[in-house]
């Protein structure tokens, strides 16, 4: 290391600044220091430190897929993460029958890309909307989501708590809408209304290759109208935008939800390239082609640009709402216990509203 060497050599009027930069670049790559020689402090280095630390610690992401059977949930998840994350239920060796109630199934995998490790958990909901009587089919799901929040809260309130609380809270819930072309059905409305309050919902139109482009636009508009008229909040929510830039970006997204997606894991040759696509008699639907379907938009939203935001919204807003509600229920107002030197003032003790509503 440069520093070592110079120290060992005696009587050298070293031009320390330059040397430092050179030696420093040995252990911190790609760093732009201030050009002004006397203005250099090195605060920027904290970004790199943060990056290194988070990469070492790894990430966790929990995604829930909800929709009737046969809408292509598992296929879509597999396409999103380009690996066999979920087991498709249409394969011959799939033995389970349609269950009487909605049973949730969480499967975890660790995937790695360019040094970034992610523990991905996919929570499947077989049986949702499949029975004849679908009243209260969202209950097991709501219970599951709340259970995860409860687990986290318990751990957070522990005296001896872990360095990193294992995060099993649902960060994102993809809700599959069948491509009827009409509007939202009662079960869709009920579900999204209830779950929109506790988790970030991303609605998608499944098997969108049955809709033409015009039909798709009309369908989407009708859905958006239905969502606003029923006051259903889906991700990204308007109220959570923090600054004008974010608002602009999210507005564009809000104008194109729900995304019409097609999923597949088979590859075909198109114009000499191998692409993911569905081959039919009338052509090949390229999944990653923006002109064909909006899968790429969904993937970009979920993974490439808003993954951290999804986690943040879950942690800062949905989890906090749950916590407020829970602490009020159990009357755990720590400011009542005026012990020793605790002059506690709570912001407002009661949960007046739920998150943004």
């Amino acid at each position: 290391m440069g520093i070592e060497e110079t120290k060992k050599e005696s009587e050298l009027e070293a031009e320390v600044r330059l040397e430092l930069r050179q030696s420093a670049s040995g252990f911190q790559t790609g760093f732009i220091r201030g050009t002004d020689l006397f203005g250099y402090v090195g605060i920027e280095a904290v970004l790199d430190q943060m990056r290194r630390k988070t990469m070492k610690a790894g990430f966790e992401f929990n995604i829930m897929v909800v929709g009737q059977s046969g809408l292509g949930k598992s296929t879509l998840v597999n396409t999103l993460f380009k690996s066999k994350v979920s087991r498709k239920s249409c394969t011959p060796d799939y033995e389970e029958q349609i269950s009487k109630t909605v049973k949730l199934h969480a499967v975890s995998h660790v995937i790695e890309e360019k040094g970034v490790k992610m523990k991905l958990t996919v929570i499947d909901t077989p049986g949702f909307g499949d029975q004849i009587n679908n009243e209260n089919c969202w209950e097991p799901i709501v219970n599951y989501v709340n259970e995860q929040y409860e687990k986290y809260l318990r751990e957070e309130l522990n005296i001896n708590r872990k360095r990193r609380i294992p995060d099993s809270r649902v960060h994102c819930c993809i809700y599959f809408l069948p491509a009827t072309g009409h509007r939202l059905r009662p079960i869709d409305l009920e579900f999204m209304k209830r779950l929109g309050k506790i988790v970030s919902i991303v609605p998608v139109i499944a098997k969108a290759d049955t809709l033409t482009v015009e039909e798709r636009q009309e369908f989407k508009e009708r859905i958006r109208k239905d969502l606003t008229s029923n006051e259903i909040r889906v991700y990204p929510q308007r109220e959570h935008d923090e600054d004008p830039e974010e608002r602009l970006l999210n507005d564009r997204i809000r104008e194109s939800i729900p995304f019409a997606v097609v999923g597949t894991d088979k590859e075909h040759q198109v114009n000499g390239n191998k692409v993911l696509g569905r081959k039919t008699k009338w052509g090949i639907i390229e999944v990653e082609n923006v002109a064909h379907c909006e899968f790429a938009n969904l993937r970009d939203l979920l993974i490439r640009s808003h993954l951290q935001d999804l986690k943040d919204v879950t942690h800062n807003i949905h989890y906090e709402t749950y916590r407020v509600r829970r602490l009020n229920e159990s009357n755990m107002n720590f400011s009542e216990l005026v012990l020793t030197s605790w002059p506690l003032k709570n912001g407002t003790d009661t949960c007046e509203t739920e998150s943004q509503l």
């Binding site: 252990f27 605060i43 890309e113 600054d243 993954l307």
Partner: protein, 449 residues
């Protein structure tokens, strides 16, 4: 997985999976970093050292700005802390820096309690954070973290060893904050002395069980540098904000008649090392250690002190709620008891006051009766006198008429004499009556007054 991340147990059922193509979540760290940039960073440094040892100058030099500082006097009655917050920006990174300086440290005659204000300050920051965390409606992600992330302890360059004040203070602080000892005004020590001094200091720290902050060795990219730096502790620093022309450049330096001590010259002092370690390499780690180790320890102690436990005496896990309920009942009972006590005391006092007042009333009544009796007596005496007087008057009147009757009517010789004598008797009677009535009036007046 990193082996040093102890809490991350191997997940059961989380099978590793290989990706068939580019998914894109490698941008996750960037997403996280971008969010942090918008939020800004927070860093709090505590500088402990004697007055005049160069704390403010070093901070100015480290951060290349001029924090408004003024010299403190040496006559502070006790140690105080002065915190100042600044917003710095370098390219797109915003840093909210809080520098806390001790004022009057080491100046008192009796330094036994010198460390206490510092410990109190650090605890107070932990306390505010803990309170915020335990609030029902909280906003942790917007919260301005004021917990002390790094503590620079300035050792004065005696060249011999640590002072006992240093040892005592550092021992008290080592479980609360990351301590980085630095040797101040290092241009007063020669190279060989410095080397011996450093070894002496480190051995003293070790033998006294003081745990100073060790630069972390678990990340391969920086492990090597950190190990080297760990060997150079404590850093011998020189601070200066003045610039001197050396060669053809202006460098930060101190100019002496015998030479120029350049601050950023590695041969002259360890300033550059300190800056590298404190800011460029380990700032994030310092913050993490503060949060995960020192703060958690404080929180645990505080909650246990309040009586919250994770398991009850039978080793069954007790939820926070149960403990809380129990505590609350206890507390309410205590309140009730105190209220009853206070009420009793109040009633007691009222009774006493009442008794007192009654006593006074009775006394007054007694006196009034007495006076009344007195008056009645006097009145009776006067009546008696009046009666006597009346009797006298009537008897005198009778005697007069009797005397007048006894005198014969044709008595002319002595007629005039009689008349005179009569007149004289009448006059004297009138005079006597007047006297008597006067006396009576006087008596009556006396009685009435």
């Amino acid at each position: 997985m990193a082996s040093s991340d102890v809490a991350r147990q191997p997940d059961k059922g989380a099978r590793p999976l290989s990706l068939a193509g580019h998914v894109g979540f490698d941008s996750l760290p960037d997403q996280l970093v971008n969010k942090s940039i918008t939020q800004g960073f927070c860093f709090n440094i505590l500088c402990i050292g004697e007055t005049g040892i160069g704390k403010s100058t070093l901070m100015d030099t480290l951060f290349n700005t001029n924090f408004e500082n003024f010299e403190s006097s040496h006559f502070e009655p006790q140690v105080k802390l002065r915190a100042q917050t600044y917003d710095l920006q370098e390219s797109n990174v915003r840093l909210r820096l809080t520098v806390v300086n001790t004022v009057g440290f080491g100046d008192q005659m009796n330094k036994q309690e010198s460390y206490q204000p510092v410990v109190d300050y650090i605890d107070k920051q932990f306390e505010t954070y803990l309170q915020e965390e335990l609030k029902i409606k909280r906003s942790l992600h917007n919260y301005h973290d004021s917990r002390v992330h790094a503590c620079l302890y300035f050792i004065s360059p005696s060249g011999h060893s640590l002072k006992s004040l240093d040892l005592v203070t550092m021992k008290k602080l080592d479980s609360k904050v990351n301590i980085i000892p630095v040797i101040a005004k290092a241009d007063t020590i020669s190279k060989s002395e410095l080397h011996k001094f450093k070894i002496k200091i480190m051995s003293e720290l070790v033998s006294n069980g003081v745990q100073i902050y060790q630069f972390p060795l678990d990340d391969e990219t920086v492990a090597k540098v950190n190990t080297t730096m760990n060997g150079h502790l404590p850093f011998a620093v020189v601070g200066s904000t003045e610039e001197v022309c050396v060669g053809n450049k202006m460098v930060k330096a101190r100019q002496y008649p015998w030479g120029v001590v350049q601050v950023e010259n590695e041969h002259h002092c360890d300033f550059v090392k300190l800056r590298e370690m404190l800011i460029c390499v380990n700032m994030e780690d310092l913050r993490e250690q503060t949060h995960t180790r020192h703060y958690e320890l404080y929180r645990r102690c505080k909650l246990e002190e309040m009586g919250f436990k994770d398991t009850d005496p039978e080793c069954k896990p007790v939820s926070l709620q149960q403990t809380y309920e129990a505590k609350r009942q206890e507390f309410l009972a205590e309140l009730q008891k105190r209220e009853d006590e206070m009420r009793q005391v109040f009633v007691q006092r009222v009774k006493e006051k009442e008794a007192e007042l009654k006593e006074a009333e009775r006394e007054l009544q007694g006196r009034f009766e007495q006076l009344k009796r007195l008056h009645a007596d006097e009145k009776a005496a006067l009546e008696e006198k009046k009666r006597l007087l009346d009797n006298d008057l009537t008897s005198f009147g009778n005697r007069r008429t009797a005397a007048a009757l006894l005198q014969p009517p044709g008595f002319t010789v002595n007629g005039k004499k009689d008349k005179d004598r009569k007149k004289w008797v009448e006059l004297s009677c009138l005079y006597l009556m007047a006297q008597y009535t006067q006396a009576l009036m006087a008596n009556f007046k006396l009685f009435l007054s």
